[in-house]
Symmetry: none
Subunit: 223 residues, 4 copies
DNA sequence: GATGAATGAGTATTCATTCAT
DNA sequence: GATGAATGAATACTCATTCAT
């Protein structure tokens, strides 16, 4: 109510609130990473050491929590892309981007579910992708100009590679969480510029717009 | 068709039941493919145009239905592997195997969930994998003997490639269901025998035993 | 259809039907005795080696089956009472009656449930009791006239003693199915004619009508 | 009442919750007493005037509710046994014990079912019996030393007498809930020390271990 | 007649969300 | 603000009963 009214009384509460918010996000991250999005908000609350009510005070519903939770992670992904642009070598830039992204996504079941099914957090995903798109495009085009990346590769192929690596990581999470590196290596070998024995990539990559449409809308899902 | 030539009264009932069984399987395939394994048996029943009780008469529980449903599909996968061995060219054999598998899995969300999370139908998956393993191994080793496949590739890498392609297909299911072909091409390019610029695959592939262990056992999951 | 038309064709069917009826009753007895009345009619049908439909052809619903099933047993009980009258010694007559009844009821969980809760088979129980009542009355009064039975005992106390013994038998069914004999002996000792140290039975016994009313009507129960 | 003097915010909630808990227990007692253990938790919730969810919040499942519900009653039974030891006269002690137990059990169908079938709350029953056993043994042996109780009576006969009286009470619940007093009197007359016309109790009483084994384990039952 | 397939209301339990304290 | 209690619709599964073959 009196949001900006008295700086004195508002701040301490904010600090508390902010702390709780962080605690909840941290807890949610742990819980969703380990058990996927089907974990309950009661679990999250318990892990955070707060009541469910507090979770609902900070986040209107489960979707919003998931939404907010992955904001950071996407932000980080965008950061990787931005940093990739600054790499001295264009190929290294791309490799690092993919590697870092995969390393972050690896084994995060909740994140995989979000990106695959987008049952929650759609808007956030879209916005993140929107911010990501131009950066990734520049990373890709730069590498292609340098001749370090095959010419028929497309920026929208990048998230797909990330999904694929995440899937591999998720599957092997219990026994060999790092296998995804094998497949990244494999794929990178396939990304090299065309040579005699290179097969042109068939079909068209998705357009950036497709990436958004691709997401199964919430309405297609149950709840 | 004519299962046991001599029984009078058994057949007509069977015909009905078998028809319904097929209807249920068909409905289940549609429902699970579209919405994943969390779809309810009520949904399946509704889609099949029968009562829930009928579904439960044919399949003791949800797991059995899923199990039976994917028996065929796994059987088909094994068939692909077997056929790959007979291909005149060892490389073509491997390519065809991956291609056919991906084509079948593409966009089948239920199947992806089963293989990724094995929340249901574990035994079936394990048995299928067990039968698949030796065949795939021969496909891979044959290609490596012929020098058409990089030497550090392992048979257990095959299912991973299939998962990854399925993920790509699933993500793009609505807009460009065939994108997975791009990524298969990419990966195939990375599978070629080592050359000067080939990076050795880092880490170890999973052992066949790991493949089984990797599967989150039902007990690790919620229900 | 042609029921009485040709005696030749009708009889064999009847015989079949009667055989099935008996088979069903036998199966029902086994199943209900062992698992109580909550056993399903599918179980009964399976045990009888017929389809459920056949059970329903013979007995309009579960209640009727239970009803018919216990007709025999009650009939037997009535028989015991009748035979008790013919015993040369009036005390022996009563003892034998109680003993035989308890022996029959012992460990028959279905029978206990019926008599206690009368969830099924009420009419039959009432009718059986009606036929039983006068006979038991004569057994009791004869013993009292002979001075072998305490004077304040009442005919309606007989079924109560039977219930009580059945309860004891049921409880110990797994470990010592014959314990009820201990308690029968105990009770019999208490039934002897009054002596110095005998306490008069307090309160009134139920009237025969009470016995009927006592039964919880089906409407009080769930289904 | 004032459970832990120093906590500010915990108490008010507790008060509500505790009230509801009591309401649920009260409702459960009524419902189970009247209709037996097959009553549904929805019924209990309705009777308590709360949602089912509330019932499940307080008691993880039906068994726990039954369990908690009968804790008190068993506790009371144990109390009776303990008090019986303090009676000035050993015979009066035993009589009072049986009388009080029967008075409490009389007409409580749920309680009878628990003790007879132990479909729920087994542990509680076992523990209660374990605590009860030694006390009852002392009550019995004391009376036998005093010569007020027949010598072949055994401590494990006590619960059987209670079951039997409960059965009688249950049967007559609607019309003459106190008839069990007749049968207690009868049995008590049979419990007097042996005289010329006393028949020795045949067979063996159950051992205390038998009492536990006797209980049909949950696994022997349906659900 | 016999069979067993089909039906669907009923049961225990879970979980996102609301609300009194 | 924070808490956790309350809610009830939803979910997997059962079983008495009906009905097509």
């Amino acid at each position: 109510m009196a949001q900006q009214a008295g700086e004195h009384r508002v701040r301490p509460l904010r600090r508390d609130a902010e702390m709780n918010r962080q605690r909840i996000l941290r807890a949610a991250s742990q819980v969703f990473t380990a058990r996927g999005l089907q974990a309950t908000l009661d679990d999250v609350a318990r892990q955070a050491g707060v009541g469910v009510g507090t979770v609902y005070r900070r986040f209107p519903d489960k979707e919003s929590l998931v939404d907010a939770l992955f904001e950071d992670k996407f932000q980080t992904l965008v950061g990787y892309a931005e940093r990739a642009l600054e790499a001295p070598d264009s190929w290294t830039g791309l490799v690092t981007l993919l590697e870092q992204a995969a390393a972050m996504l690896a084994g995060d079941r909740g994140l995989l579910e979000i990106m695959m099914y987008a049952s929650y957090g759609q808007d956030r995903v879209h916005r993140a992708r929107a911010r990501m798109q131009p950066v990734v495009t520049r990373v890709v085009e730069r590498a292609q100009r340098d001749g370090t990346l095959r010419a028929d590769f497309r920026p929208t192929d990048v998230p797909f590679i990330e999904f694929m690596l995440t899937t591999a990581a998720e599957y092997a999470a219990q026994v060999r969480p790092e296998v995804w590196r094998r497949y990244l290596t494999l794929i990178l070998d396939g990304l090299r510029p065309c040579r005699a024995d290179t097969t042109p990539l068939p079909g068209e990559a998705l357009t950036p717009d497709d990436m958004v449409i691709a997401m199964p809308s919430v309405s297609q899902r149950r709840r």
